[in-house]
Structures are given as C-alpha cells and as structure tokens.
C-alpha cells in the first residue's frame, strides 16, 4: 500500500474511520447493538474478500465457504472449551491447519471446471454439515458447543465490545491487505488470465492448477481466521450456523459488490449485513429477500455495483508506482 499521495491518504482515511471514528460513534451512542453490527460487518468483510479472491478473481464458483468458516469456528470452540487455549494459539491452529487442508483439497477440486467445481463444493458443504452433525464426540452434534469463553490473549480476557470490535477490525485489515496484494499484482493478473482462458494462460507458461489451489487455500485460511473470532463473539457454534445458505449469502454479497473487485467485496459485505437491519420488519424473510436480491443482481447487474474493470483502474490511479500498474504515459 505504498505509492502516490492519493493512495496513502485513502488508506489513512479508511484506518481512521474504522479504527477511531466508528468506535467513537459506538461509545457516544452507547449502544452495544450498533457496535455488534459494526463487528459483524468487519467479519463479513473478511468472508467476502476471501470468497472474492476465489470466485471473483480466480473465477471458481464456490459454495463451500462455510466449510472453512466452520473449521475455524469449531477449532476455536473446541480448543477453548476443552483446553482453555489462548486466542493466538487457536488462530495459528485454525489458519495453518485449514490452509494445508484447503490446499490439498484444492489440488483435487480445481481439476473440475466451471459448474462441476460448484457442484463438488456443494457436496463438500453437505458432507461438512453431516460430519459436524454426527461426530458427536467432537462437536456435540446438533446441540452445538455452548458457553464458549471470550477471547483470551496473554492471560487477559477481552470481553468488552471495543476489544472484539478491534479484533474484527484487525482481521478485516489483514483480509484487505491480503486481498489487495493478491488482486492488484501480477499474481492477480495470472489468476485473471486463468479465469478468462485457462488454455491460453497455460500456453503462456502458467500452472493453473497450482495457482488455483493456492487461492483456494488462502480463501480457506481467511475464512478460518474469521471463524475463530466468530465462535468467541457468538459464544455458541452449532451445525445450523454453517448451512449452505450462508455460503450463498456471501456469494450474494460479492455478486452485488462486483465479482473480482476488492472495493466491491467490502461494499457487498456492508450491504448484506446492514440491509436486513434496515428491513427488520420483514424479520424472518431475510433469506427470501437475499434470494430475490441475488436473482435480480444476476439478471440486471451481472458486473456488480463496482465492477472489476473499474476497480482495477481506480486502484491503478491511486497507486501508479506499483509495478503492476506501471506503464509509459503518452508523451
């Protein structure tokens, strides 16, 4: 995130808003509800950025996001309730473990193209649900794991809303950083080339399977990271937190925001979290409304609110010095 003054200014402004202004607003309003909402937005940002790398940039239509979110959440829940581990340990186990598992799984799955990859990920999501539901010794099955203690770092319990909000903000920052580095770089070019025309990319010397498996692993690791915190702030995890529908929600967010667009992923996360709150009177109709929104977005807004092409051009303008954006200007 270095380069021109515009880029630095933008990053500083974003950090100030999320790190200082919003917490101040929460403090002034004194509403834990609003703070929790902000925290949920930030965690969702992690999820949308992760899925956007996979589905937007690399073009792999995936419906198994909840599997890795669930890996993280169950790792956090089981480790902290059984062994009283601290948060960093849980994060390390969840993120590293998921990255390895997802990479190996990815090597198998990414051989499938287009709709078959999607179908296989649905199978994976269903298998995960079945496993969690039936492996009672580990997951307590349908009852779920209740009474998950608050986040514990270096012996301190972080119980207040500000602490968990800041942790969520930190995770969102990590996700934005990873998303930025992978999207706005030659690595991103390689991923996009593979998405657009895998054969042509291969004949330019790229190794599509390897790169796609890497992105699948990063996607899984980011999801798992968010999952660990999710388990603690929710203080409960159960199989019903990880339904196929939740994957579809994250997908809806990035379709609305703009597939392949990092700012779009952030915007999509904000919209899918805040919109239902504004539509609270519809209550239980949340899922239906999302179905309708996804449907309409596919038909009428296939490139999303902030399309990939425009977002990439915008980032180039903010950071023209990066090698990825560098090119001779017209004299």
């Amino acid at each position: 995130m270095k380069g021109s003054a515009g880029g630095i200014l933008f990053v500083v402004a974003a950090l100030l808003v999320v790190g200082v202004a919003l917490p101040l607003v929460f403090w002034v309003t004194g509403s834990p509800f609003i703070a929790r909402l902000g925290q949920l937005v930030l965690l969702t940002v992690v999820l949308t950025i992760a899925l956007n790398l996979l589905t937007g940039t690399a073009g792999l239509l995936a419906l198994d996001s909840v599997v890795f979110l669930g890996f993280g959440a169950y790792t956090g829940a089981i480790l902290s309730t059984r062994f009283g581990t601290s948060f960093p340990v849980e994060l390390l186990v969840a993120v590293a473990g998921t990255a390895v598992i997802a990479f190996l799984l990815g090597l198998l799955l990414v051989r499938l193209h287009s709709v078959f990859f999607a179908v296989a990920t649905v199978g994976l999501a269903v298998s995960f649900y079945t496993t969690v539901l039936n492996w009672g010794d580990l997951t307590r099955g349908a009852m779920g794991i209740p009474a998950i203690p608050p986040v514990r770092i270096a012996g301190y319990e972080l119980d207040g809303w500000l602490a968990t909000y800041m942790l969520a903000a930190l995770m969102a920052l990590v996700a934005v950083f990873v998303g930025h580095r992978m999207t706005h770089s030659f690595y991103g070019n390689a991923a996009r080339a593979i998405r657009e025309d895998e054969d042509a990319a291969r004949s330019m010397g790229l190794t599509p399977r390897f790169i796609k498996a890497q992105i699948y692993a990063v996607h899984g690791a980011l999801m798992a990271m968010a999952g660990v915190l999710y388990a603690h702030v929710n203080s409960f995890v159960g199989p019903d937190n990880f339904l196929l529908l939740e994957s579809a929600l994250i997908l809806t967010a990035i379709v609305i925001g703009g597939l392949g667009s990092l700012p779009g992923a952030v915007l999509g996360a904000v919209l899918v979290v805040l919109a239902p709150e504004m539509l609270r009177q519809f209550g239980d109709l949340r899922a239906i409304i999302f179905g309708v929104i996804l449907f309409l977005a596919i038909l009428f807004l296939p490139r999303g609110l902030l399309s990939e092409v425009r977002s990439l051009a915008w980032v180039r303008r903010l950071d023209p010095a990066s090698p990825w954006a560098r090119r001779k200007r017209r004299s």
Binding site: F186, R192, A193, M204, G205, R316, P323
Partner: protein, 262 residues
Amino acid sequence: MTVRGEGTGPAPVLEVEGLTRDFDALRAVDDVSFAVMPSELLGLIGPNGAGKTTLFNMLAGALPPTAGRIRLQGRDITGLAPNRIATLGIARTYQNLRVFPDMTVFDNVSVGAIGRFGVSLWGTLVPGLERRRSDRIADATIAALERLGLIDHADAPAGNLSYGQKKLLEVARALTLAPTLLLLDEPAAGLNPNETEALSLLVRTLADEGLTILLVEHDMPMVMRVCDRIVVLDSGRKIADGAPRAVRSDPAVRAAYLGDPE
C-alpha cells in the same frame, strides 16, 4: 541465405521426427519430419484439412502425438504439458484470437512475462520480496508493447481493440516469454490487406532480428513473400520442403492446391 545441409552448419532449433497423430480411424498427421534452423522463418502451408493445426497443436503441447519425437534445441519435449513447453522456449499465438477480454492490454501482455519469470504467493503477500521480479515483468511487458506499437493502448480493455490490434497483442504476449521459437497460427486470417502487409513486415523484421519463427498460414502470397523456407502438408503428409520459389513450382504442391487427384 546459407545452404542448410544435414550435419553441417548450426544445430536446428526445432527438430520434428516422424510426427504422427491419429483421431480414431483418421490419421491427421502422418509421419512428418522437418527442422527449423536458428533465426529461420519457416512457413508451414497446406490446403484445408492438411493437418496444419494438428501439427501446430502438437508442437505447442496442446495435443499429445500418437508417434514421433519433437526436440527443442536438442531436448526432447514430446508430450510435455503446454506450460512446460512455454517455459522451455516455445511461445504461440492463436488462430482464433484468445486474448483475455476483460483485462487491460498491459495486463494481457504481462501474462507471458509472468509465465517466463514466474509468480509466487509468498512474494506476492510479503511487500518488497518480489520487487525485482515484478520490475522485470513490467519492463518486459512495456518493451513488448512498445515493440508492437500498443503502448498507447496499455490501459484500454483488450476487448476494445480492433481485430488487427488483438492479433498484435497476441504476438506481444508471446514475445514477453522471450521464446527461442515463436509459433504463429494463421496470423493473417481475418486481416485486411493493409494489416496483412504490416504484419508480414513485422514477422520478417522479427526474423531478421534473430528470432526463429514457424508460421502456419493460409495466405499463400504472404508466405511466399516473407518465408525463408516452406514446408507443405497435404492430407497429413509432407509433400514438399524447400525455398519458396522451388515450392511454388513443385508439381505435387500445385496438384494439392488445385485439388487434382494424384
């Protein structure tokens, strides 16, 4: 041009030996052998269905041969994956354009350089780690864009280019791989006479600068004009191999093109 006899002069860049490919009962390429010498511009021609595209795809690794050997600078590359062949030094263009339409011209062309220099996930994630490699990719991309006169369009989406410019884009993308052999698959197809003329000049210049090129082409006058040597295929077999003038007057070639039964 020097005379290229067996066993004399420099070693060939590409050697094709007894290359054969069957599709079920059909033998699309039948025992074809030839060699391409350093900085030679070799034309590969033949009537429709002669097996040009099949042969081309085998050279690029897109199709495994049924029998025969392909050697690049003495190294056996038969049946290797396309990405291996690309990094070993064979770059290609496509007959039906295969640009990445949603990416900018710069990003399209960079893909060849990315294939050549590689990308790593760690280098991408850790700031500063990959700076040198990224600079090389950017430099190679800019050089290729300038070489083909596309630098002014660097930030335009590739989908917005004209047909002829997209062809140039594919050549630029292939050049960023710094290939030892450039495979051009019917580059003149779909171009108007002016564009064809410009392209001929470009191909000839590239060869004169020392690049080894195998040109598969339908446009006979263009091939006759620019190529050092021509190999003619008909029904999967090689029926002629020699200088343009000799090939033009070869009775077998005339028969093949006029559709005469032998």
